[in-house]
């Protein structure tokens, strides 16, 4: 069923838009279930453990390939029709429906690991699969948590509880969006910084920032940070309930399962954060504040396949320009920093730092607003000398 949005603009005349991807978003309801195809295949093929690799092969091999094959998303709603698109309930209902699915996937994968006779490799495959899909749950929580309504923000906290990441929405909305593309942001990566070094800064930094922001809010309300008024703790409490129950139900094997699952889910966000602002830097204004986040302060990808899986997360510039905008309305622009593949492909590149630097450093320095000017780049202090030595005279060399 196609819906066409229309507006009679006083100057531009009739503007129309049909969202050709409208029906594709249903895929988001099936994606968490993809995590279970490995288990289904295992039983279907007579307990064949190789089937457990299927979801991992999908994410790490098939998705980057399909991004390359299907290419760019030509759908781009006109700015004037965004308000109408925002109002369409269909899109938000899809995100709500995925939340119980994420809980379900954790329960089923936990049951599988807790009850079946499996080799360590099989357990690892299922655990990593569960972690990836809980990481997608964090992405859904990102979409929900940016909205103003209490219902959607509560749903976000439930989605985050699946991977024990309850601080995320607070630290992301009030911390990352405020500090993005500056050296002060633990969730913005620096040129020359590997994802592993970044992770050691990002994960604890995010926890600390989320706790700090929520504590400040509660202080204003004269409430204790150690109370259930604390929205971070509300989500963690749910995590303890959920994950504690799994340990009680399925025994000690749940401890390594949950630890690795949680970490791998968090690492999906680390991976996304790493590639989204690598090396980009906002300039300070005269009054000491940083300039507003501009489109050129985010790396984007307009690949249709992975964007469907991620609720348009890859249209990152528009997200930072309009943080409360719903995923269906996010727009792409020309002349913004662009990644050479979708997120899942770029994650793989990021996991091999020398390959990441080889592909991304020149791309970063060639951006129109940078053009070799290192003062416009967020550089890892430990790598500053070697980067300046290598690239410092680019302007003079007319690169």
């Amino acid at each position: 069923m196609n819906v066409t949005y229309r507006l009679d603009h006083p100057e531009k005349g009739l503007i129309q838009y049909t969202d050709k991807k409208r029906h594709l978003w249903i895929a988001s309801l099936f994606l968490p279930l993809l995590a279970l195809t490995g288990i289904a295949g295992y039983f279907g093929m007579g307990e064949n453990p190789y089937m457990l690799l299927a979801p991992l092969i999908f994410i790490y091999a098939l998705v980057p390939l399909l991004d390359h094959v299907f290419g760019s998303d030509e759908n781009n709603p006109p700015e004037e029709l965004v308000p109408q698109l925002e109002e369409a309930n269909y899109y938000r209902i899809l995100t709500w429906l995925t939340v119980p699915l994420h809980v379900m996937v954790l329960l089923i994968t936990a049951w599988f690991v807790g009850t079946q006779e499996l080799s360590a490799w099989s357990v690892l495959a299922v655990t990593l699969t569960a972690g990836i899909y809980s990481g997608l749950g964090i992405n859904t929580a990102h979409e929900l948590g940016h909205k103003r309504g209490r219902f959607e923000r509560a749903l976000a906290r439930i989605a985050l509880s699946v991977s024990t990441y309850g601080h995320f929405c607070v630290e992301h909305n009030r911390g990352h969006h405020r500090d993005v593309a500056t050296p002060e942001d633990p969730a913005s990566s620096r040129m020359g910084e590997s994802i592993y070094k970044f992770m050691l800064r990002e994960i604890p930094g995010a926890f600390a920032r989320g706790w700090h922001e929520e504590k400040q809010r509660l202080e204003r309300l004269n409430k204790s940070a150690w109370s259930l008024h604390n929205e971070v703790l509300q989500s963690y409490a749910l995590s303890i309930l959920l994950q504690g129950s799994l340990i009680v139900l399925f025994g000690w094997i749940m401890v390594p399962f949950l630890l690795i699952h949680n970490f791998w889910a968090w690492f999906q966000l680390t991976s996304a954060n790493y590639i989204e602002h690598y090396g980009l830097l906002r300039q300070r204004k005269e009054n000491g504040r940083y300039e507003h986040c501009q489109p050129h302060h985010s790396w984007n990808a307009n690949y249709i396949f992975s964007n469907i899986l991620l609720f348009h997360l890859e249209r990152h510039s528009d997200h930072h320009a309009n943080p409360t905008r719903r995923y269906q309305s996010l727009r792409n622009f020309d002349d913004i920093p662009e990644l050479p593949n979708g997120y899942f492909g770029m994650f793989l590149v990021a996991y091999i730092p020398w390959l990441w630097y080889r592909i991304m450093d020149k791309r970063l320095l060639a951006l129109p607003h940078i053009q070799g000017d290192l003062s416009k780049v967020n550089i890892d202090p430990d790598k500053r000398d070697s980067i300046v030595a290598r690239y410092g005279n680019l302007e003079e060399n007319h690169v």
Binding site: R148, N173, R174, H177, R289, H292, N322, P323
Partner: protein
């Protein structure tokens, strides 16, 4: 009592109401802390808010 609107996301701070969730009682907008960021988008500071015109008659 005036309303101030975030020029980024449209969030409105109503001086007569404050923002209960954020812990701001009814108060003059200008008395908000200098590091106050918009509760809607988290991005804009006080100087990015616009005083809304009073409702017309």
């Amino acid at each position: 009592m005036s309303n101030y609107r975030c020029n980024g996301c449209g969030y409105v701070f109503n001086e007569a109401v404050g923002d209960k969730h954020e812990g701001y009682p009814p108060m003059p907008f200008m008395d908000l802390p200098d590091d106050f960021t918009c509760p809607g988008c988290g991005v804009r500071y006080k100087e990015d808010f616009n005083l809304m015109p009073p409702p017309g008659r």
